[in-house]
C-alpha cells in the first residue's frame, strides 16, 4: 500500500528558508524562488501614497521597484536571516519572514473545492535555535487563520532535506552557504549532537576576492558586492594543491591569466601578473588556515570565528576535510564507515568549475574534499548534489509527501506534524 495518500499528493508543500533566497511551492519539478528580503515602505513617502501603494512591507520581485538610494536600502530593505538564523527579538526580520511565507501561499493557493490546506514542510538551517521553530509554527498558524492554507506544518533541518533529495539514508551532508557551513551526519535521522557548524562560507571567498581586486588596482569595484561575487564565480579556482598551483601560475602567467569583462558594461578586470591569486578564492573555502592567508588577515580581512560546541572549540580556519572528520568522530564507531561512504556537498558555495586545460592544477569541490580526507588517511566517497539550488526544497517536498498524517510534532524528537485543530 502506498504511504502517500491522494490528498498529500496534491497538496504537499515545501519551504526552504535560505539566507539569500526563499524557495517554496507545492509538488512540482521546481519551486518558486524569491529573494529572502522585504522592503518596509516608509510611511511618509508621498509619491507612494499618490500612486496608491498601501502595503507596509513589500516582498518578492516587486521589491526591485522600490529600491532607491543606498541610504534607502540600508534603512528600509531588510534581509531577515544571517547565516540562516533570525534573531529572536528582531521584529522587522520576523515580519519579513511572515510576509514571504504569505507571498508563497497567495501565489500557489489552489482554488479547488477539496483543498483544506497544505501539508507544509519548512526547512531551516541545522543550527537554527528552538525559538525559530516556535516562531515559524506561530507564523504558519496565523496565516492559516487568515487564509486557511496550512492544514499541518513541520520543520526539518536543511541537511536532512538534502539527504532526502539525494535518496540517501546514511551520509554526511555538508551544506555551505554564504555565511556558514554545516556538517550534518545523517542516518535516517539527523544526528544533531554531531552537527558541526563552521562560521565561514561564500562570504570568505567574497572577502578575499575583494582584497585581490584592491591589490590589482580595482579598489573602486571592491565595494560592489554583486560584482565581487561575479568575479569570484568567473575567476576563482579551487587548487588541488595551493603551493603547487601558485608555483605553476607564477611560472606561466599567460596560461593562468584571469581576464574578465563584466557583462553589459565596459568594465574589464585583468588580474595580470597577480593571476595566481585566483587560486586563493577557492582555497579559502576549504583551507583558510593556509599561511598565504595570514597577510590578508593582518590587513583586516576577517578571520573566520571559532565554533564552540560544549567544552570543545573548533577553530574557524580548520580545513573542511578535517571538520568533516571531527563531525563523523562524534557518531558511533560502527556508523562512521557508512557515513564516509557518502559525503554530499550541497549549496552554491561548492559549485566550482575547472576550466579546460587546467585539470592538473584545479579541481572541483568533491575532489578537493576527497584529497583533504585522503591526507587524513580516510578513503571517502564525495559527491555534489545533483541540484544544489533546489535540493533542500525537493527533500522537503518528499518529507511532506511521506510523513504520516497522524504523526504529531514532538519537541523531544523535533519532528512530526504541527497540526490544525490540535496545536493551533
Amino acid at each position: 500500500m502506498s504511504p502517500i495518500d491522494a490528498y498529500r499528493r496534491k497538496y504537499a508543500y515545501a519551504e526552504d528558508y535560505g539566507t539569500s533566497y526563499f524557495k517554496f511551492g507545492p509538488v512540482a519539478e521546481k519551486p518558486h524562488v524569491i529573494e529572502n528580503r522585504g522592503f518596509f515602505v516608509p510611511k511618509d513617502t508621498i509619491v507612494l501614497k499618490v500612486v496608491g501603494v498601501e502595503k507596509r512591507i513589500v516582498v518578492g520581485p516587486e521589491v526591485a521597484q522600490y529600491l532607491g538610494s543606498r541610504e534607502d536600502l540600508a534603512r528600509h530593505l531588510v534581509y531577515p536571516m544571517r547565516d540562516g538564523v533570525v534573531d529572536l527579538n528582531d521584529e522587522r526580520a520576523w515580519r519579513v519572514i511572515k510576509e514571504i511565507t504569505r507571498y508563497g501561499f497567495e501565489l500557489t493557493k489552489p482554488s479547488t473545492q477539496d483543498f483544506q490546506g497544505f501539508y507544509v514542510t519548512a526547512a531551516l538551517s541545522a543550527i537554527a535555535p528552538k525559538y525559530m521553530y516556535e516562531k515559524l509554527f506561530e507564523i504558519h498558524a496565523e496565516l492559516d487563520n487568515e487564509m486557511g492554507v496550512v492544514k499541518a506544518v513541520t520543520i526539518i533541518p536543511q541537511p536532512l532535506a538534502v539527504a532526502i533529495a539525494q535518496k540517501t539514508l546514511t551520509c554526511i551532508v555538508v551544506e555551505s552557504g554564504h555565511g556558514n557551513t554545516q556538517i550534518t551526519p545523517i542516518s535516517q535521522y539527523p544526528i544533531r549532537k554531531a552537527i558541526v557548524s563552521l562560521n565561514r562560507g561564500g562570504a570568505e571567498a567574497d572577502a578575499i576576492t575583494a582584497e585581490i581586486l584592491k591589490d590589482c588596482g580595482y579598489g573602486d569595484l571592491a565595494s560592489e558586492e554583486k560584482l565581487v561575487r561575479l568575479v569570484k564565480e568567473k575567476v576563482g579556482l579551487v587548487p588541488r594543491d595551493l603551493d603547487q598551483a601558485i608555483k605553476k601560475a607564477k611560472e606561466d602567467p599567460e596560461r593562468f591569466k584571469a581576464h574578465f569583462r563584466v557583462p553589459g558594461t565596459l568594465t574589464e578586470i585583468d588580474l595580470g601578473e597577480n593571476s595566481w591569486t585566483r587560486f586563493l578564492i577557492g582555497e579559502i573555502i576549504f583551507n583558510p588556515q593556509h599561511e598565504v592567508f595570514e597577510s590578508y588577515y593582518r590587513r583586516g580581512m576577517p578571520r573566520p570565528r571559532d565554533t564552540i560546541i560544549g567544552d570543545e572549540r573548533i577553530p574557524g580556519t580548520i580545513p573542511l576535510g578535517r571538520a568533516i572528520a571531527e563531525s563523523a568522530n562524534k557518531t558511533s564507531i560502527e556508523l562512521q564507515p557508512y557515513l564516509y561512504r557518502k559525503i554530499i556537498l550541497s549549496g552554491g558555495n561548492f559549485a566550482w568549475k575547472v576550466p579546460p586545460g587546467m585539470e592538473d592544477v584545479a579541481c572541483d569541490a568533491a575532489t578537493k574534499i576527497r584529497e583533504q580526507m585522503k591526507e587524513l588517511g580516510l578513503e571517502v566517497h564525495v559527491e555534489l548534489t545533483k541540484d544544489p539550488i533546489y535540493s533542500v526544497w525537493k527533500g522537503s517536498i518528499v518529507y511532506s509527501l511521506a510523513l504520516p498524517g497522524d504523526y504529531l510534532w514532538s519537541w523531544d524528537k523535533m519532528e512530526g506534524w504541527y497540526m490544525r485543530g490540535i496545536h493551533y
Partner: protein
C-alpha cells in the same frame, strides 16, 4: 553760407504742418546748415534754404543758380523731391521758371511775413527701385543654395528614418507572424499529444480494471501517484522510511 535758424525753422514748420517727418540731412550726406530733409511715406524730400536778402542782384542770382546746381549734384539718386526755399526781396533775382521745371526742383518763396508759397512744384527726381550690390546678391544666392541643400539633406534623412522604421516594422511583423505560426504548431502538437494520452489512459484503465474485485481508493491512488510523482520523489527510500515514523 549759413542760413538764419529762424528761416530754417519757418521752412521746417511748413513741412511738418504738411504731415511730414523730419530726418537728419546728414543721413543723406547733406549739410544740415543749409538743408532740411523730410520723409513722406516712402518718399524722401529735401529743401535747400537760401537767404538772398541783403545781397546784390548779381550775387543773389549767382547763389540761386549755384544752389540749383548743388541740389542736383548733392541729391541725385538719393531723394525723391527737392525744393529750393528762397527768401528774397525781389523776384528779379530768380532764374526763368523753365530752369526749375527742367531740373525738377520745386520753388518755395518766403515773403516778409514769413509765409511760404509754393511757386513751382517739384518733379520726382528718382524712380523707386531697390538696388543691391553684386556682392550682396551673391551672398543671398549662396545662402539660398545652402538652404536648399539643407532642405534636401533633411528630406533625405527623414526618408532614411522612415524607410528604416518601415523596414524594422516589417521585420517585426514577420517575426511576430513566425512566432504566431510556431505557437499554432505547438498548440496543434499539444492537442494531438493530449488526445493521445487521453486515449491511452482510457485504454489502460479499461484493461487494468479487475473483473470482479474493486481496488481500494488507496491502491488506486498509489498506482496513479507513484507514476506521476516528480523524479526526485520516485523510488526514494525515504518515502518508506519516513512513512514508518510513529508516535512512541
Amino acid at each position: 553760407m549759413a542760413v538764419p535758424s529762424k528761416l530754417m525753422s519757418i521752412v521746417r514748420n511748413y513741412f511738418l504742418d504738411h504731415g511730414m517727418e523730419e530726418i537728419p540731412p546728414s543721413s543723406l550726406s547733406l549739410n544740415p546748415e543749409s538743408y532740411l530733409a523730410f520723409r513722406d511715406a516712402n518718399n524722401i524730400l529735401v529743401v535747400k534754404v537760401v537767404d538772398a536778402e541783403g545781397l546784390s542782384l548779381h550775387k543773389a542770382k549767382e547763389i540761386i543758380e549755384n544752389s540749383i546746381v548743388s541740389i542736383l549734384n548733392e541729391t541725385v539718386g538719393t531723394v525723391d523731391k527737392a525744393y529750393l526755399a528762397l527768401k528774397t526781396p525781389s523776384l528779379s533775382v530768380l532764374p526763368p521758371p523753365s530752369r526749375f521745371k527742367s531740373s525738377g526742383i520745386g520753388l518755395l518763396l518766403i515773403d516778409d511775413k514769413d509765409t511760404i508759397d509754393e511757386k513751382i512744384p517739384p518733379r520726382p527726381l528718382r524712380r523707386l527701385s531697390i538696388v543691391y550690390s553684386e556682392e550682396k546678391l551673391s551672398e543671398c544666392i549662396e545662402r539660398l543654395s545652402k538652404l536648399e541643400e539643407g532642405f534636401r539633406e533633411v528630406k533625405r534623412e527623414i526618408s532614411d528614418v522612415l524607410y528604416k522604421r518601415i523596414e524594422n516594422n516589417t521585420e517585426s511583423i514577420r517575426n511576430l507572424e513566425k512566432i504566431v505560426e510556431d505557437i499554432r504548431h505547438q498548440i496543434e502538437k499539444m492537442e494531438k499529444i493530449v488526445e493521445h494520452i487521453y486515449h491511452q489512459q482510457i485504454e489502460r484503465l479499461s484493461s487494468t480494471e479487475p473483473p470482479v474485485h474493486v481496488p481500494s481508493s488507496t491502491t488506486e491512488a498509489r498506482s496513479y501517484v507513484d507514476e506521476d510523482l516528480p523524479e526526485f520523489a520516485r523510488d526514494n527510500p525515504w518515502i518508506d522510511t519516513l512513512s514508518k515514523r510513529r508516535q512512541t
